[in-house]
């Protein structure tokens, strides 16, 4: 079963440099799927923090993707490499609590395939649902006091 049919909540963090019209291109999908899909454009994937990924899971995402630009083409040189390390750190942490590391996934864009953000999201939705709904029900994130 694909992820769209499985009704999974998908969160996509992505480097804004991948699609100059990302704010327009993602609208149709956001309208269609509502809260089941959330996009978070980043000025560079290196802006991601492990905490962003955990918060996404904590607040109801079943799968969280981080899409970076191709290796060697980061506008800020090493942002996409740092992003990968932070995602790996977050994977280690969720594994410690018994959550599947597959719930967090890095997608590195390739030089040869030019895709808009909605095309990438459609491709993600068509993927097989390797994990089901998250065992973390609707969690209320505790704000800092």
């Amino acid at each position: 079963m694909d992820q769209r049919s499985a009704g999974l909540n998908i969160v996509i963090f992505f480097c804004r440099q991948l699609d100059a019209n990302q704010d327009v291109n993602r609208r149709a999908l956001e309208k269609e799927l509502g809260s089941r899909i959330k996009f978070f454009p980043l000025p560079c994937s290196g802006r991601i923090e492990s905490l962003h990924l955990l918060r996404a899971l904590e607040t109801g995402a079943d799968r969280v993707y981080l899409i970076t630009c191709p290796e060697g083409s980061c506008r800020y040189r090493e942002g996409n490499l740092r992003a990968g390390k932070r995602l790996a750190f977050a994977q280690g942490l969720i594994e410690e609590i018994g959550l599947e590391r597959e719930r967090l996934e890095l997608i590195r864009a390739t030089q040869d395939v030019q895709m808009t953000i909605d095309e990438r999201a459609q491709e993600i939705l068509m993927r097989e649902a390797v994990v089901g709904p998250s065992p973390i029900k609707k969690s209320v994130a505790g704000p800092a006091v």
Partner: protein, 222 residues
């Protein structure tokens, strides 16, 4: 800077198991610099613990706070009025911070989330190295600002052991030989004469044997 590392989550979970309302308290000083106990790490740990409780169907209220410093009363005082609302405080401060908070709030349960490790420096992003044992009798002035107690694996005070290879320590081939560094630096500074002198033995009583050490400064007391 005092460095620390987070305890395994399994150990933290075991400590907090009897408690439902937990305040995860970070420290914005040393342990924030070494990425183990600052605001980000507080957020990560609290988030993981909340998710863990959800997954296990446990009732838990886990909130976050980060003090600028956990080892100074003026900063710890931020917890007054707050700490009583929780069953336990999970501190991401160093050992000094945990004990300072517990000393000010003796009725509260204060639990350490970190293992305090050493006094060191940030060598590069993501790398911290030990370079001071707080011996209380600093000899860096004689040894070109390289501490032989800390940075020589054998703690030798009287020259190299002879086991180093290509400037690296035979105990840890990743570490430079402290004595090679000392000799090279003194040579460069034209101060090899410092190694000709005979120095009195180190006064270890300044580090150990008298219980917890203290510094008292009359001019600082208000």
């Amino acid at each position: 800077m005092i460095t620390a590392e987070r305890k395994p989550l399994s150990e933290i979970k075991e400590m907090i198991a009897p408690y439902k309302k937990i305040l995860v308290a970070g420290c914005g000083s040393c342990v924030a610099e070494c990425a183990s106990g600052g605001e980000k790490e507080v957020g990560l740990l609290a988030s993981a613990l909340r998710m863990d409780a959800k997954m296990e169907g446990r009732e838990a209220e886990i909130k976050e706070v980060t003090l600028d410093r956990q080892c100074v009363y003026e900063f710890i005082d931020q917890l007054t009025g707050l700490i009583g609302q929780y069953d336990a405080v999970l501190s991401l401060g160093c050992g000094a911070g945990v004990q300072a908070v517990a000393g000010i709030f003796p009725e509260a349960i204060i639990l350490p989330a970190l293992n305090t490790t050493f006094i060191g420096q940030t060598k590069e992003a993501g790398l911290w190295i030990e370079n001071c044992r707080a011996c209380g009798d600093c000899k860096l002035g004689y040894f070109a600002a390289v501490c032989p107690i800390t940075r020589c694996a054998k703690g030798l005070f009287n020259g190299p052991c002879g086991g180093s290879k290509e400037g690296k320590c035979e105990v840890d081939p990743d570490a430079p030989c402290a004595w090679q560094l000392i000799v090279e630096r003194l040579d460069k500074a034209g101060r090899l004469d410092l190694l000709q002198k005979v120095y009195p033995p180190a006064d270890w009583s300044k580090q150990q044997g008298k219980g917890p050490r203290k510094i008292r400064r009359e001019d600082q007391i208000v």
